[in-house]
């Protein structure tokens, strides 16, 4: 039985399914990407990663679909598409 002394949280990480909030999803045109890193650095949820080859990719696991990455991309390489439309990566 759990011992109640002080209220503490150390039984795992508290995680919300924020992907379910999304109405629009960002879709990246890898050809147009100039690898400037703006999308990664401005994403509030840290859902954009850079791989070993310094290529950027979007993870949809927790992306809330705020659209900052699309708005900040200097090459308009990211498009916000209605969930369910367009191609999945």
């Amino acid at each position: 039985m759990r011992k109640y002394i002080s209220p503490i949280g150390k039984e795992g990480l508290y995680v919300l399914d924020t992907a379910s909030w999304r109405t629009y999803r960002p879709v990246m045109d890898k050809e147009a990407c100039i690898e400037c890193g703006a999308c990664m650095s401005f994403c509030p949820v840290n859902s954009i990663y850079r791989d070993q080859e310094k290529k950027y990719y979007i993870s949809y696991d927790y992306c809330k679909g705020c659209g900052i990455c699309a708005n900040e991309c200097p090459k308009d390489a990211i498009t916000m598409m209605l969930e369910g439309e367009g191609e999945n990566e």
Binding site: G9, G37, P44, Y62
Partner: protein
């Protein structure tokens, strides 16, 4: 290491899924601060948007991957003073002691303990994410709320038109405490922000470091979520939120702004200012200009 390398190669220590609003500046700031400080960190996050969004945990779980406590709204700096005193006593100065609080917990009820901790030179980094109001409880006015802003406690009605007073200039007040490091930052200028977080952490090893970061708030400011970074940039470019740092008494404008845009370019995207007429907008421009003149005087010698 470039700032992009830093951000790309460091670990995100915040829960991947937290209930901050879409496009929240606070979430962005929290994640970046902890990416840079790393796992050897203790953080205090008082009531506010970030704590409310679940990063201090729920039931028996933690919202972060590092030790975190939710201090009272008004004692972040004093509670962390006790933590840092203990860590110094144990000879564990390598542990980063960080406070991350909203403007209400910083500039209003928490200001007494903040001011005292800065005066004592407590070894910690205190980060204020300034979204210009008590956003977690429905956008009430704080002392950093800009003049003219519509808030739930300074509503626009038949005779009153939003907040009557100018904001309290907390970063300048903190600089006047003689803290080891004081800087303003904007997530729209990420390289500058990353460098200031790094400097702040370094300074917290020998004194009190304070970062005041503008935090775009789509919900409270009533702006589009995708525009947060754009707004953070415009706030800087209009001198509404100039970027500077003060290190050992030397003031430096880190992002010079020789050709400022009119403050109306920033304000245009925000419904909280929508009710303002030409006269009121001119007053805001005048305040921004005066504030900038003061900053120019303080930084002139070295910039």
């Amino acid at each position: 290491m470039s700032y992009l390398d830093v951000l790309s190669e460091s670990k995100d220590l915040v829960t991947p899924g937290m209930s901050a609003c879409q496009g929240c500046g606070g979430e962005l700031i929290l994640r970046k601060v902890l990416q840079i400080s790393g796992e050897n960190t203790i953080i205090g996050i008082p009531p506010g948007c970030m704590a409310g969004a679940g990063v201090v945990g729920w039931n028996f779980s933690n919202g972060l991957k590092i030790p975190v406590h939710i201090p009272l709204l008004d004692n972040t700096a004093s509670l962390l003073s006790g933590v840092t005193a203990m860590y110094q006593k144990m000879g564990r100065e390598d542990v980063n002691i960080i406070g991350l609080a909203g403007d209400g917990a910083t500039a209003d009820c928490g200001f007494q303990s903040l001011s005292a901790a800065a005066e004592r030179g407590e070894h910690m980094l205190y980060v204020c994410y300034d979204n210009e109001g008590y956003m977690n409880t429905g956008f009430q006015r704080s002392s950093t709320t800009f003049k003219g802003s519509q808030t739930s406690t300074t509503p626009v009605g038949k005779v009153k038109k939003g907040k009557k007073e100018n904001r309290k200039n907390i970063p300048m007040i903190m600089a006047m405490h003689g803290a080891a490091y004081v800087a303003t930052a904007s997530p729209g200028h990420m390289k500058d922000m990353v460098e200031k977080i790094e400097k702040g952490i370094a300074a917290s090893k020998h004194g009190f470091a304070y970062l005041h970061i503008i935090s775009p708030c789509p919900t409270g400011w009533v702006s589009k979520p995708e525009c947060g970074i754009d707004l953070a940039k415009k706030a800087v470019k209009s001198n509404y939120f100039p970027l500077f740092e003060v290190e050992e008494g030397v003031w430096r404008r880190t992002v010079p702004n020789p050709k400022p845009i009119p403050v109306t370019d920033f304000i245009a995207g925000l419904r909280k200012f929508k009710h303002l007429g030409e006269d009121e907008l001119a007053e805001i421009q005048e305040y921004v200009d005066k504030n900038n003149e003061l900053l120019e005087k303080l930084t002139r010698e070295v910039s």
